[in-house]
């Protein structure tokens, strides 16, 4: 288990009352699971009906988009890592 922080966009932070959420987890998926356990509303906001991240939700592990990583959300975490949730900017 690594102690990491998850940084939320303000529109989600306003929903749950905190912008930076500290969690202990071994992987990105585990961290997101801990996040949604703490704030269940985020489960529906971040994941679609199939259980995948919603199409326009991005999750960065430090500076890397988890979509691009071979292990995806299975990526291992180290203490002090930072996860950042962003919404994909689409259209004008």
């Amino acid at each position: 288990m690594a102690h990491v922080t998850i940084h939320l966009p303000s529109i989600l932070a306003s929903l749950v009352g905190e912008r930076v959420v500290p969690v202990d987890a071994a992987s990105v998926a585990g961290a997101l699971e801990a996040l949604t356990a703490r704030h269940p509303a985020l489960g529906q906001a971040l994941f679609d009906e199939s259980g995948a991240l919603r199409e326009h939700v991005l999750c960065f592990h430090n500076k890397e988009n988890t979509h691009w990583h071979a292990q995806g959300l299975g990526q291992k975490l180290l203490a002090g890592d930072k996860l950042t949730i962003l919404q994909a900017v689409t259209g004008g």
Binding site: A41, A45, E49, V57
Partner: protein, 349 residues
């Protein structure tokens, strides 16, 4: 005097507009800043519900004791894999619990607003389901009504499918659209394809219903079994909201010039009222723009407060709010210009 609070859901958050006398109004908000706020309601125990939606984060249901502090409902409506929940269009209280009407079209029921919200399979998996087609607003279940004298009888309006009725408490649902002009004719299922925009019940006689359809205003005198065109005095067939005064039974609508234009006819904004069960209609325009008024009203953006005389309220897609404390005879405009208004609910506290 009772206080009235208007809950106004917009494309970019919700606002509260409060009044003690229904003439002087104070704006609060935004709540749910940045979220599309699509519906609001009140559970039988007095708690308030609001639905938000986001292109990125999907729909969520929220609950509040005071309309100010809100918590998200953990076990809200969800289809699970295979069908997408895009938006919650209505939250309707009945004596047995709450219904949420959603897009993709379907209903969810919860005995308690905190959930669990369970799919209403008899409607959601209706034998005609594969033939359901969306209208411009999407494929949405946007209205649920309960017979106040018979909790087993409910109606649900789905755009662009039609009105369905259950007589067994929601187990089975049957299309009830005979006499209405079809909008999207299906090759096999001739009892669907009716684009209902708004549906209201006569508060004194639950056999009488009114529906604003894509192709006209209709009335039923037999609980929806058959419908008759009912548009005498209306300037156009098209429109979205329809509401009734629970005290007098007056019916209110906001006609728009055809599905092609969707604007007040001639730029003259007017609510139309019927006091004879939709057999005839007359305009209510005092205080509304009669030249250059091209603001439309969406299906959820009109409500009444149930007081006497009845307060009538509507919000426009241009962000203006209009209030009448005298049953629609005259209109005032609170001092605000909001984002595109999607829904208005009048709560009496």
């Amino acid at each position: 005097m009772k206080k009235v609070v208007l809950f106004v859901g917009t494309e970019k958050g919700a606002f509260l507009i409060r009044s003690r006398d229904r003439y002087n109004w104070q704006l609060e908000g935004p709540l749910f800043k940045g979220w599309k706020v699509t519906a609001a309601g009140r559970s039988p125990d007095g708690r308030f519900l609001a639905a938000s939606a986001s292109y990125v984060y999907g729909p969520l249901l929220h609950i509040s004791d005071d309309l100010v502090q809100w918590d998200s409902v953990k076990d809200g409506p969800s289809y699970g894999e295979g069908r997408k929940l895009e938006q919650i269009w209505t939250v309707a209280a009945t004596r047995r619990g709450l219904y949420a009407g959603v897009a993709e079209a379907g209903l969810f029921f919860a005995a308690d607003p905190m959930g669990p919200w369970k799919p209403v399979q008899g409607l959601n998996d209706h034998p005609t389901r594969a033939a359901w087609q969306p209208g411009l607003g999407g494929l949405c279940a946007h209205v649920v009504l309960e017979n106040p004298e018979n909790p087993d009888q409910l109606w649900c309006g789905i755009s662009a499918v039609g009105v369905f009725r259950t007589d067994d408490g929601g187990k089975t649902w049957h299309p009830r659209n005979r006499g209405v002009t079809v909008a999207i004719e299906d090759k096999d299922h001739k009892d669907i394809g009716f684009c209902v925009h708004g549906l209201a019940l006569n508060p004194h006689n639950p056999a009488v219903l009114y529906r604003q359809d894509h192709l006209g205003m209709f009335r039923s005198d037999d609980a929806g079994d058959t419908w008759q065109r009912s548009n005498a005095g209306l300037p156009a067939d098209f429109g979205f909201p329809i509401v009734t005064d629970p005290d007098t039974g007056a019916v209110y609508a906001y006609p728009l010039h055809s599905d092609e234009y969707r604007l007040p006819v001639g730029g003259a904004m007017a609510v139309y009222r019927s006091t004879d069960q939709a057999r005839s209609w007359a305009p209510l325009a005092r205080g509304l723009m009669q030249e250059g008024g091209y603001a439309s009203v969406l299906r959820g953006a009109m409500d009444v407060d149930g007081l006497s005389p009845c307060g009538v309220y509507f919000g426009t897609s241009s962000g203006t709010v209009h209030c009448s404390a005298d049953g629609g005879d005259s209109w005032q405009q609170p001092d605000c210009l909001l984002p595109r208004i999607l829904c208005i609910k009048a709560f009496v506290l």
